[in-house]
Every structure is written in structure tokens, then in C-alpha cells.
Symmetry: C2
Subunit: 503 residues, 2 copies
């Protein structure tokens, strides 16, 4: 077999795997949005079966034969060629997947499907005990996975690597040390200083049906293409790329605070723009996929914070919000709304957290996950440990587990090792935004007119369309001229919050 | 291998096939309800791939080996045992499926996915020419399928047999001869007699959002379980059973005529009750499936007509419809509404057709389909032939193709040979309703109080829970004491319409 033939078959098999995975993705989307409750057991059977099939396809020994033919050949001599990139990433995925026992993969699919329903019930009844056995089982399974995949320093490395290829627990830990050192005092200074935005500035009835209309306008304004996507409601917001022409977002609504859905739609919309900006012709191969979850999150966090918490954006969005609900933000100027949108609170909720404290919420989860996986923390001790870390980093204690350690769906979905990608996303986003502004000029002014095209196109050109042709750090460096570094983020936060709060 | 082992593997394989088919069903449901337009090409790839996989599974030579072990054994000696029934039906499906070339099956999946989008566009633009090449291709593919499957008299038999096992074109043709002979004069007499219901009795604005509320109440009242099902909107209404605990209905709404959605929800709700009444433990095997499409339609037609066009039902439903929209049916008594719900019109639309003319709409399609498949009618001649038959049987001519030969989605979905099952459904439904009333007493009185439980439970006991343990004709005979016969239907229609119109 010559290398061209082998490469052709390799790509065909990879695309076929992605096609089947996209079927599973629709089942997962439906489970979160429209599936009737009694359908959960059957859905779990479906997903377990698909996961087994996907695992079988991903670990077919034929792939190894094909890789061995291609890897030695002239076809991949240039490491920047499409063939070399796809081959390298297919090899990485194959090595990871072949190490995971099929029983573990199948059991994880089955358990997480049921666990997500149990999590919903546990959260709405504030009943951690109901969720505990599911968390235990998921941690045990993912630990088994980590042991099977292998790691240098600690098992958490193996999980992290799935979402952020090449990242290590040690690096993340170092990153969080800087953030903790720099941000905990800044948070304290800001929350204790005299100048403060209006309290409860956004607290007013805004009926959910009208919010849906407003959120659709905002998503469309930033460039989300509704002929190739949807916006729905789910308990926990997410974005999912089902395939070319089909990217879906979900948000949740608080009828008493329109900013809940607003920041959701910007966050998930950022994910959606990345998905819609990927090269559709490369769908199903690494060249058509996101480089890392951290990079994906950077797009979400960029739209949520750099755009959504800018003065320009608030000048644009206040009238938009008043469209479907004229009484919205009554008596609030754009400038006041902007300041209020940058209120800093030592709160207990991650999703609604402000830009400044967000990483501290992530830090809590990172520390707990790391300990759960290493076995130094038991699932039954999570509520206590959670509350202790919130007290330490944020100076607050959740009133109950529903608003504490049950607030996120990630663990129920099996996502352990994912949280740090939010903070990596913040780090990358700060660098991208600064670079975009250097390239296209002041963004605040144009955003005030509802013009988001220049920023979106810069991102499309420098991030989205490249897929996984570079690693996330290499892509950041090429787009911004600097390797990933936390300094840009910290400097930006210091400058912004210093100016806002006069410190 | 012993027979028990072989049977166990046979059932396991059949269930696995059903599990994968139920994934494809969700993709199909989503395509009709929520998928963004630009997702159609990818969805088509997904469904084509799944169809190929399903075909490969259904035709695995291993099934033949297993069947041969089981069929000769003591395990299936008693033809009424679960093992014998499942084995017999698995054999029937295997024989059919192995005869269809994989290229034909795959191409049909791909073409029908695209054709359904084209049909929507063609219908909304009244542009038959846009749909014509798709119809041609679908007819050609299904003709290829018929030739491959084989038939005694004519190719249409092979298609009919898929939906109504054992039915023949000759039988259906004979059935329609009786209907034509008895009903065409009755329709003429009724539509020309002096006593007539109020014209446009239901013509009034009833906002779609409020209709949704009313339709959900009606579906719940007849016993559709929303914890295990959904009600959505689609261009062409349908019911789909995704698996245990997950049955979905769709309807369409006319803001100026609430009976459009009302008859839809009863029709699709009848399908849904059948699906929810199947034995969930047997899901994925013939024992847990409908006996035939005709039997499935009988449940839909029973709720739509015998219930939905009864005086008792209208006494119940008028106040229910006024709940979400107090101005609904203003000045209309239940008795007037009942008469109006039984207005007979020589119209051009099948879905909204009354009980009496419905079979004539089906007759038109049956005659055209039969000729398309035998090759005596070209797709390009369909509009003209359609209009000629409407003139002959109903005395009307559709104003355009959108309201004529483009009105149904069936052909676009590849459903050729399906239409006659509606009339078989009418035949079976009349027999079931009469038998239920003999068993549980007068239904009109209890339905006036919104009590549908006795009827539903009789159907559950005598029809739903039996799955495919008997053929449709055998099941009808066991439940009603008589083999399927058109006489009950015709007598019922003569008596009802004679009384209503005084003829």
C-alpha cells in the first residue's frame, strides 16, 4: 500500500468516526433540551451503544497499520502540510483511545447519561447524597481511564491532556498561583472600595419569552448564523457543533435578571462563532476541529467579557434590550449599566460570576478535582471541602449544596479536568483581544454602533479557520506575537478595574 | 450451537438493530422539527451512513445461520410462543432486507433526505417542476426495490407488503371498489342535501400559542403521557416512537381554524397511544412492535373520527377549547359544533378532509402510485392525472399544485404504498370501536365528561399490548370476533351521516 492510499483511507475512517460522533452529539443535545424524562434509560442505552461503536472504530488496529505506512513517508515530511497535521493528530487520538479499556468507556457513557438526570434532581432538591454515589462512580471510572492512559506526575495530567493537549497539572498550578497572588488582593480591594456600581441595577422582571427575542438579536448581531444554528434552553447552557451548517447554543433564563441570559448567549455564542468559523470542508478531520478546549473557551470568554463587559457593548445593547421589553433597565444609562455589568462580587456561583472572580471559582474546582482523582479527597467530603475553599478564596459560603457543589453539570457529564480550560481561555482571550485591537483599531467605538464584524473577522482569520493545524499555544503565538502568558490578562484586569473603581 | 443460544443471539442482534434505528429516528424527528436549514446536507450524510449500517446489520449472514438453527427446533414448535412469533417476523424482515441491494437502500436514504427539503420549498412556491426530478428518482429507486424484493402480480405488491404484511394490490383494489361504489353516491347525497351544518363554524382567530396549550390538554385527556412523550410542530404532522419512554407527536396549526390542529392531535395522539401501549420490555423485537401500519393507522383514525367526530367529544372539548382562548367557538353550541365537525366537503385536501370523503382522497393516491410504480404514469404527468382523479371522485379541481399533488410529504419521504394503510385503518377502526362499545357500554356519554379511559384501556388490552404477536387481520378477528371487512365501516358511515343529514 502506498502512502497516498493509506492516508486516504485514514481520512475516510476519521471522517466516518466523526459522522457517527455527530449522531451521538444530537442525542446528547436532545437529552438536555427536549427529551421527555421517561426516555432517559433508552437514551442511555443508545449512547452507551454508540460510545462502544465509536471506541471500536477509534481503536481499529487497521488505523495503526495505516499510520505506520503514512508516518514514514514523504507525504508527511513537511510538518506544516495538511497531511502531516492530520496524521499527527490522528496518531495522538489513536494512542489515547487504544489505552482506554472498552468496558471503562462504555460504563462511563452509561453512568454519565443517568448521572446527568440524577444531578438535575439532586440540584433541584438540594440533595447531595443523591448525587454522591454517581460522583464516586464517575471519579473512579475517570481515574481508571487516567491510569490506563498514563501520566508522568499525577493522574490528573492524563485527564487535562484530553481537553488541552500538552498542558500539565504543574503548569496549571503555576498559572493559578500567579492568579491567586495577583487577583485575590485585587478582588478584596475592589469589593471593599467606596466607589461601587448601583446595586441590583439589573433586577427587574423581564419575561422569558421577551428575553428569547432579545437574546436571538444579540446572537445575530455578533454574527451567529441562524440559518446554520439554533438557540434553545437547557438547565446548564452549552454550545455543540453537530456538523457543517448545524451549530447549536443553549442558554438559561432568569426572569428577574436579564444579564443571566445575556452573558450566557455571549459565552455560548462565542463558542458557536468558533464552530461556524471552522473550515466545513475539513469537517471530521483534525484540520476542521478546534485546537483545544482552552482555545474554544477563549472564544466564549472573549465575547462574554471583553465584548460583553465593555462600555461600547452596553451603549449598543441597552436599546436592544428595551426593544422587546420597553420597561427593561428603566432609568439606567449605558454608562451606569456598563459599571453595573462590571460589579465584582464575592459570590458562590460560577456561571454568573464576574470577570474578576471567575478564575477563583475555577481554582476551587481545579483543586477539588485534582484531589478527587488522586484519591486524597472522597466524594462524600466534597460539600465540606467546597465550602472551605469558597471561604478561603472568595470569603463566602454557599447557603446550600444546590448553590454550592451541585451548581455545575460538568462532573455529572464526566468532565473532570475541563474546568482549567476556562482560565486558559481567559489567558488566551486577553491576548487575542489585545492583538485584534492592535490590528483593527479601537473596538469600543464600533461596538457602540452594534458593529462586531471587524473583531469577528479578525478571529475568523487568526483563530477559527485554522482548526487544529497548530497547537493552542502555537496558534496563540502566531496570532498575537507572544506565547501564552498570564501577564496580559492580569495587566488588563488591573487597568480596567483600577479605572472603574478608582484604585 | 443449541436453539436457545441461537435464539438469544438472534434477539440480541434484533434489539441492537432497533437501538441504532431509534438513533436514526431521532435524527429524522429533529430534521422535521428543529434542525437549521443549512444542516440538511450533513444530516443527509448521517442518515445515509446509518441506513447503510442498519442494512448491513439486518442482512448479516450470521442471522441466516441463527434462523436455521432456531427454525428447525422444538423452541418454535408452538406457533403462538414468543420465540416462534419473534423468529417468524425476524425471518420475514431478513428475507425482505437481504433482497434489497445496499446501493438502492443507501441512495434512497440520501435522496429522500434532500427530497423532503425540496418538497417543502416546492410546496411553498407551488413549483411542481422543482419536485419532479426527486419524485422520478424516488419512484425509480422504489421500483428497483420492488423488483429486487419480488412480487406475484405487480411491483406495487412488494411495496404494500412492507407496510401491511400480506396485503395485495388486488385486495386493496377490491376494497376500494366497494368504497367507491358505496361512498361516492353517499358523498353526493350528503353534499347536495338541504340540511347542512353552519358554514365556517370554526373560522375564527385562535392564536397558535393558545392552541398549543389546548392541544396539550386534549392529548393529555385522551391519555397521552407527557412524561414519556412530546408534542411539537412540523410542516407535516407525524408520530414517532423513539423507544421506551419516548414517543413524540407533531401537529401543524392554522391560526384561523383550530380544528386543523385538533384533528391532528387526535390522529397523531392515537398513534402515540399505540406506541405508549406497546410492551416496553419487548422493545426492539417484533413482540414489542406494531403489527402493521394499517393497524397503527386504525388507532389514529379511531381517535380522530370515532372519538373526535362524536357528539360526546364535542360536549367535552368546547369548554376545553375556550379555556386558553375564551372567544373560541363564540356562539356555537356543542351540538352545532358536532354537526359542523361532520361537515362533508368535496375538497382538495386530504389531511383536513372529513371522515366520509377521506377514503376517496386515498383512492386518488393509490391509483397514481400504482401506475407510477408500474411505469404507466410518468412523474411529469402527475399534476394532470391528480387533477383528473379529483374531478372524477370528488368533483373538484385543486387551484394549484401546492394544494394538489404537492400537499403530502409521503412521496418525498419515500413512502410509496403507504396511503392504502389509512383506509385499512378506517376499516379496522370501525370494527374496534364497535367491539369496544359492545364491551364497555355507550362511549358517547362518558366522553362528554372527558372520560376516555375505558376506551383507551380496551384498546390497550385488545390491540396495543399485543405488538406483532398476531398479524393485523388475526388481531382484528381476535379483538372483534370478525375478520377485517369493509361492511362495518360502510354501515357505520351510512347510519351516522343518514341521521345527521336526514337522508
Amino acid at each position: 500500500m502506498d502512502a497516498e492510499t493509506a492516508y486516504g483511507e485514514l481520512v475516510r475512517r476519521t471522517r466516518e468516526h466523526s459522522l457517527l460522533a455527530s449522531c451521538a452529539d444530537l442525542l446528547a443535545w436532545d437529552e438536555e433540551t427536549y427529551m421527555p424524562a421517561a426516555g432517559v434509560a433508552h437514551r442511555s442505552d443508545q449512547l452507551a451503544w454508540l460510545t462502544t461503536e465509536l471506541h471500536a472504530k477509534a481503536t481499529d488496529p487497521r488505523i495503526l497499520d495505516l499510520l505506520e505506512v503514512v508516518e514514514g513517508s514523504a507525504l508527511v515530511r513537511d510538518p506544516t502540510s495538511p497531511e502531516a497535521i492530520n496524521t499527527r493528530e490522528i496518531r495522538r487520538a489513536f494512542d489515547r483511545e487504544t489505552r482506554i479499556p472498552v468496558a471503562v468507556a462504555e460504563e462511563l457513557a452509561r453512568v454519565t447519561t443517568l448521572a446527568q438526570q440524577e444531578w438535575v434532581a439532586a440540584r433541584s432538591n438540594d440533595d447531595f447524597a443523591r448525587f454522591r454515589p454517581w460522583l464516586e462512580r464517575i471519579v473512579a471510572l475517570r481515574r481508571e481511564e487516567a491510569d490506563a492512559v498514563g501520566y508522568v506526575d499525577e493522574p490528573y495530567d492524563a485527564l487535562l491532556d484530553e481537553y488541552e493537549p500538552g498542558a500539565t497539572t504543574r503548569d496549571i498550578s503555576r498559572l493559578f498561583n500567579t492568579i491567586r497572588t495577583d487577583l485575590v488582593p485585587l478582588v478584596m480591594a475592589v469589593t471593599e472600595c467606596r466607589r461601587q456600581p448601583l446595586r441590583h441595577a439589573f433586577r427587574a422582571l423581564y419575561p422569558v419569552e421577551q428575553q428569547r427575542v432579545a437574546m436571538a438579536s444579540v446572537a445575530a448581531a455578533i454574527g451567529f448564523d441562524f440559518s446554520a444554528g439554533r438557540l434553545d434552553t437547557s438547565a446548564h447552557p452549552f454550545a455543540i457543533h453537530l456538523g457543517p451548517g448545524d451549530s447549536r447554543l443553549t442558554v438559561r433564563y432568569d426572569p428577574w435578571d436579564v444579564t443571566e441570559a445575556l452573558f450566557c448567549v455571549l459565552h455560548e455564542g462565542g463558542h458557536g462563532l468558533y464552530d461556524q468559523g471552522l473550515d466545513a470542508r475539513q469537517f471530521g478531520t483534525p484540520l476542521g476541529e478546534a485546537a483545544s478546549q482552552g482555545l474554544h473557551e477563549s472564544q466564549a470568554r472573549l465575547w462574554q467579557n471583553h465584548v460583553g463587559r465593555s462600555l461600547g457593548f452596553w451603549r449598543y445593547v441597552v436599546p436592544v434590550l428595551r426593544g422587546p421589553c420597553p420597561s427593561a433597565l428603566e432609568g439606567l444609562s449605558s454608562d451606569d449599566a456598563y459599571f453595573a455589568a462590571n460589579a465584582v462580587a464575592r459570590s458562590t456561583n460560577r456561571v454568573s460570576a464576574d470577570e474578576l472572580t471567575y478564575s477563583l471559582h475555577v481554582l476551587v474546582r481545579f483543586e477539588l478535582e485534582r484531589e478527587l482523582v488522586s484519591g486524597t479527597l472522597r466524594a462524600s467530603d466534597v460539600p465540606e471541602a467546597w465550602n472551605a475553599l469558597y471561604a478561603r478564596y472568595l470569603g463566602v459560603t454557599p447557603p446550600n449544596d444546590a448553590e454550592g457543589c451541585l451548581q455545575d453539570s460538568h462532573w455529572a457529564a464526566g468532565l473532570i479536568g475541563y474546568f482549567p480550560t476556562y482560565t486558559l481561555g481567559d489567558v488566551y482571550a486577553a491576548q487575542f483581544y489585545a492583538a485584534a485591537e492592535r490590528a483593527v483599531g479601537d473596538l469600543d467605538t464600533v461596538m457602540a454602533h452594534g458593529e462586531f464584524g471587524a473583531l469577528r473577522e479578525w478571529l475568523r482569520d487568526h483563530v477559527h479557520r485554522h482548526g487544529h493545524s497548530l497547537s493552542a499555544p502555537a496558534l496563540v503565538e502566531r496570532a498575537t506575537g507572544a506565547a501564552p502568558n498570564v501577564a496580559t490578562l492580569v495587566a488588563m484586569l488591573r487597568a480596567k478595574y483600577g479605572a472603574l473603581y478608582g484604585i
